[in-house]
Amino acid sequence: MSTLPELTADGYDFAHMGKSYHVDCIDNNMMAEFEKRLFAKAKERLLAVKDVLSSQAYELRSTALADRYMAGEFSMMQQGESNPLKDASNTVTLFSLMLDVDEKEVLALLSDKAVRAELTGLFRCAMRDSFPGLSFPNDQ
């Protein structure tokens, strides 16, 4: 058990190919931004199929999507299977927020095996510092 990093929650530094990164802890602002990004992505997906839907069907789906957002279904605090972080693409969205870079850069970083191992460790540390009682599947 660490003593102070989780209380200061100031994150971790990381460097790769001459560029410095900072892995931020997840505060409430970041959690809110995460929800907004997922909502924006869902709207984009719906918009992409607008042409093949009737105006009534589009309107219905659009309203249902807004209702889901308002109900907090995109929150990373959702319990169990409905937690959006069960979806790998949403995890990339979270990592992009934690690193404050776009998702393409996150994917580029994670494609390097050695970097992925180091970065995953830092993400875990930052996530542990951010949430009480958090554990990961392969924790000992």
């Binding site: 989780e6 209380l7 929650a9 802890c25 997840i26 505060d27 409430n28 602002n29 809110a32 308002m70 109900a71 907090g72 279904e73 929150s75 605090m77 959702q78 319990q79 510092d129 951010s130 949430f131 009480p132």
Partner: protein, 125 residues
């Protein structure tokens, strides 16, 4: 609205009501900071709960002359040359011995003074 969303609203309301935080200040907190600092376990009178006395006692070694002399040697080694000077160290050890000598009449826990030795005085070390 999901239960979790309702719970989050209640937590924010407590932070505003009891701790005077503003929403933008709560926004900069992690869930862990909220849980472990603002919602730290409290006693019945509302004061912050510290690790129990029982846990503290487990960590403490009962004080004895030998134990304190060993700790003094350890401390002297840690402090370096200034404390290693024999004169200072010996003086500190003498003070410790004097302290323990002065306690002898009460070692038994049965009371007694120099004027009126306690019933177990004959067996005192």
């Amino acid at each position: 609205m999901t239960n979790e969303a309702l719970r989050q609203r209640a937590i924010w309301a407590v932070l505003i009501d009891k701790f005077g935080l503003r929403p933008w200040e709560i926004g900069r907190l992690t869930q862990r900071q909220i849980h472990e600092l603002y919602f730290h376990p409290r006693n019945k009178d509302g004061t912050i709960k510290f690790p129990s006395d029982a846990q503290n006692q487990q960590r403490q070694v009962p004080a004895t002359l030998e134990g304190e002399l060993a700790a003094l040697d350890e401390f002297a080694a840690f402090m370096g040359a200034g404390w290693k000077e024999k004169q200072q160290l010996d003086a500190a050890k003498e003070q410790l011995r004097a302290k323990y000598d002065g306690q002898r009449p009460d070692d038994t826990g049965l009371g007694g003074t120099e004027q009126e030795p306690c019933v177990c005085a004959d067996f005192a070390i």
